[in-house]
């Protein structure tokens, strides 16, 4: 009986040692180096929301009305490709219109609007290594604006910088196809709206 209790105690001590030893060693090392614990700044839950609100205003002031409405309603922006040969293609289909979908903090997706075929995912990030508020991540709308400016300003440079992947690596193709369907519906409704207004008799306005 005593032997069994002693064996159990030994096993318990060994298991506890596995979990507590690293902390004890670290505490000892810290004490030896006379390091001080770095106190993290107080978390401000409103800061990210205020940052995002500012970023949305900046984005709105840079893109056109259609792109802003697209982002506001669908959470993405479509940018048409401008290269005569779309990235990575040197075949007879060169010259086919292509476009990109920009999502916040997700890869840029290239696709063919005529067929809906997904071409590539371009993984790109804009990390601010100065980490002014403890994070290197821009607000969502700033990330979208950075991609938009880089794509419309120098598409080849941005695409050359990004890591190229096949569709489906990070963005779910089913979700993207659904987004493309939503985009088509959204555009249809948007183009139908002025027509409906113009058909309305003046007396009914």
């Amino acid at each position: 009986m005593l032997l069994a209790l002693a064996a159990t105690a030994l096993v318990a001590i060994a298991l506890l040692w596995e979990t507590t030893a690293p902390r004890l060693v670290e505490a000892f090392e810290r004490h030896r180096a006379r390091r001080k614990l770095v106190v993290a700044p107080d978390y401000d839950p409103g800061r990210e929301r205020r940052a995002e609100a500012r970023a949305r205003q900046l984005l709105k002031s840079c893109v056109n009305d259609e792109e802003w409405a697209m982002y506001r309603d669908l959470g993405l922006i479509r940018v048409w490709g401008t290269q005569s040969e779309r990235p990575g293609q040197h075949d007879a289909a060169a010259g086919t219109p292509y476009a990109y979908l920009i999502y916040p903090h997700k890869p840029i997706l290239a696709y063919l609007p005529q067929t809906g075929r997904l071409l590539n995912e371009y993984c790109v990030a804009f990390p601010d290594e100065t980490r002014p508020y403890g994070s290197a991540r821009l607000p969502d709308s700033d990330d979208v604006l950075a991609k938009w400016m880089a794509l419309t300003g120098d598409e080849r440079r941005l695409i050359g910088t990004a890591n190229l992947h096949l569709p489906g690596r990070q963005l779910d193709p089913r979700q993207v196809r659904r987004d493309l369907w939503r985009l088509r519906q959204w555009e249809r409704a948007r183009t139908a709206r002025p027509a409906a207004r113009s058909e309305t008799p003046p007396a009914a306005r």
Binding site: L58, T130, D142, A150
Partner: protein
């Protein structure tokens, strides 16, 4: 002309402002522009116009249109995961 810089956790920050027609202001803007690029930023000038809007990436202050109202600095693009 205003220089804005995107910052995590904050949104954009006004980092410099001046009149490019005033020599002292222009020198200050040129210096700030160089510092931002040295710090790893890209500079873009949003171009407004009818219909489609675009941006122009500037690698030096000389590439910034003289009548630009603002230049936006944002962290240099890197290949993501």
């Amino acid at each position: 002309m205003k220089f804005l810089r995107m910052k995590p956790g904050h949104g954009e920050v006004l980092i410099a402002e001046g009149d490019v027609e005033v020599r002292e202001d222009e020198e200050r803007l040129v210096e700030e522009f160089r510092q931002q690029l040295d710090a790893g930023m890209w500079a873009a000038v949003p171009l407004s116009g009818e219909g489609r809007r675009t941006a122009q990436l500037a690698r030096s202050f000389a590439e910034v249109p003289r009548d630009a109202e603002r230049v936006i600095f944002f962290p240099r693009a890197a290949g993501g995961r």
